[in-house]
């Protein structure tokens, strides 16, 4: 990796490469805003009936719940409880019961993470469906643009060499040793591929499966996901995975150099690691 004879400046910096097209950048920030509002309004909607089930319907006279959040009265006073797959946990302060001792709040998720912060299902739904449309529109625009400009084929769909390079890339990440190459690393490709081709389609389709109108015209969605209530559960689970993705994504941006990473997603230009071969169109 040492290049004898090159100047000091060229050693410390690779070329500035144009990495992100305007379509990638616009849709990226659109999704960032949409997912923020979709998450917080979605938790508001969940709070209207803080339980998740497997199957077509919700068991009131039988038990098919996989998650239930609520408050119970105990000898020590009210407590928040969360039951996941039959295991009950005390989640006072976070789930089921939150707020101060003087003004406890008996909601599934606390008001700090819902829109609005008070209980208002109607408004949660207005916000959720508004940003749902924008999210899907951005997905459609991104897909079209990425097919046309080659982003999909070049950067998103993992190829043989990416799979082959995966162990080395994982070892690099484990040592927090990040290569700023011209293109995404194998792990990056794989995670973006998972988001675009697994998580985003799943969350959109399970969302549509909860619509009685869509059920009439596309009953196969009910069969695909195993019922409306299972679809609702998957919708929630994918939300959790997207939140995890977001956390890892932000951590990686911070570790890999936040200014350079943010610059590439705002201006498109990305500073590569020293030793990256310059190509036509690069800047020094």
């Amino acid at each position: 990796m040492t290049h004898n004879g090159e100047g000091l400046e060229q050693k410390s910096k690779g070329p500035l490469v144009y990495r992100q097209s305007i379509w990638t950048r616009l849709t990226h920030w659109t999704w960032a805003i949409c997912l923020f509002f979709l998450l917080l309004s979605g938790l508001q909607i969940f709070n209207a009936h803080p339980a998740l089930y497997i199957g077509q319907q919700s068991g009131f006279e039988f038990d098919n719940a996989v998650l239930r959040i609520g408050a119970v009265n105990t000898p020590e006073g009210p407590r928040g409880q969360t039951t996941v797959f039959g295991q009950t946990f005390d989640t006072t302060g976070v789930l089921g019961m939150s707020g101060s001792a003087e003004a406890p709040q008996y909601t599934g998720f606390p008001g700090a993470v819902t829109i609005p912060s008070f209980r208002d299902l109607a408004t949660g739904r207005v916000v959720h469906f508004f940003f749902g449309w924008i999210f899907v529109a951005a997905l459609f625009i991104w897909f079209l643009a990425s097919v046309i400009n080659g982003h999909l084929r070049r950067d998103i769909i993992p190829k043989g060499q990416d799979i082959a390079g995966l162990p080395a890339d994982m070892a690099d990440h484990a040592r927090f040793r990040f290569q700023h190459r011209r293109r995404y690393s194998p792990l990056q490709k794989l995670s973006y591929f998972t988001v675009f081709f697994v998580l985003f389609p799943l969350i959109v389709l399970t969302g549509l499966t909860m619509s009685p109108g869509m059920n009439a015209t596309a009953p196969w969605l009910l069969d695909l996901f195993g019922g409306r209530q299972t679809a609702r559960t998957i919708h929630f689970a994918v939300m959790v995975l997207l939140v995890l993705f977001f956390i890892v994504h932000v951590i990686m941006v911070v570790l890999a150099g936040p200014l350079n990473e943010l610059r590439s997603m705002i201006t498109g230009w990305y500073r590569t690691s020293p030793g990256t071969a310059a190509e036509q169109g690069d800047r020094p």
Partner: protein
């Protein structure tokens, strides 16, 4: 060149600071969206209008909601909303087993008509096992028996200028200082004439109980639960929903929920 980079850097730092302050400050910033009539909220509500038109364009008017098998009826139909209307009028009818009950079709019709429960039961019946989806998120499968609404509307002769059915109900869902607020809902004529739209008087092979809307409730199977008004007494054909309630076409739509309800 260095000047440009410096400015970009400032821009990046500024936007990062802005983003994190929005993320950290919790969400009471967006509580204003809860104000009915707020212009930002009203703009966002247009997404529901888009959904309505998109679904009407995409979904055939006659396409049926899924019907389930007997084995999927695993529990009673969960009652929700009003479960026991307390008005004098309803109590009187209930005491007499709804013998004096009449369902009236009025408004933009050729002739106002009304039917007793006995007459409705003698009309061609349809039985369907369908899933009821509450706006809260839960679902419940039950068997509904009733007479399709379409032919009943035809008996009254719907005028061509009519655009909506308004469904008036007996139940005082909300009591206020200025009097009772009665439940009402409305639908377009596509939903009214849908083959699964029933004036339901039977539930799970029994007479429809009071908690589920006796003597007659409407079933609009391609919409959420609040579009299935219980304790129905009058259907009014209109070309404008603004004169009713707070003008948004139903008790829950008046309280900020989407009017269409097919999601």
């Amino acid at each position: 060149m260095s000047q440009i980079i410096l400015n970009r850097r400032r821009l990046l730092l500024g936007s990062a600071a802005l983003g994190s302050s929005v993320a950290l400050s919790g969400c009471n910033q967006f509580d204003f969206l809860g104000q009915r009539g707020n212009p930002v909220r009203q703009a966002m509500e247009q997404a529901n209008v888009l959904t309505y038109h998109a679904q009407r364009a995409l979904i055939g008017d006659q396409v049926l909601a899924r019907e389930y098998s007997e084995s999927e009826i695993r529990q009673g139909m969960k009652p929700n909303g009003s479960t026991e209307p307390t008005t004098a009028e309803y109590s009187f009818l209930r005491m007499q087993d709804f013998a004096p009950y009449r369902l009236t079709i009025k408004g933009m019709v050729e002739r106002e008509v009304s039917f007793s429960l006995e007459e409705l039961r003698n009309m061609p019946a349809r039985t369907q096992i369908t899933r009821h989806d509450c706006v809260e998120g839960w679902s419940c499968i039950a068997k509904w028996t009733g007479t399709p609404l379409g032919p009943v509307l035809d008996a009254a002769g719907v005028k061509p200028e009519a655009r909506y059915c308004v469904y008036h109900c007996f139940d005082n869902i909300q009591r206020t200082l200025s009097g009772d607020i009665f439940y009402y809902e409305s639908s377009d004529l596509v939903d009214a004439y849908h083959p699964q739209t029933l004036l339901a008087y039977g539930l799970n092979d029994q007479v429809l109980p009071v908690s589920n809307g006796a003597p007659v409730r409407l079933r609009i199977e391609r919409a959420l639960g609040y579009k299935q008004p219980k304790y129905l007494h009058t259907i009014e054909l209109v070309d404008d929903l603004t004169p009713f309630g707070r003008g948004r076409g139903g008790y829950w739509p008046d309280n900020g929920y989407d009017w269409y309800g097919g999601i």
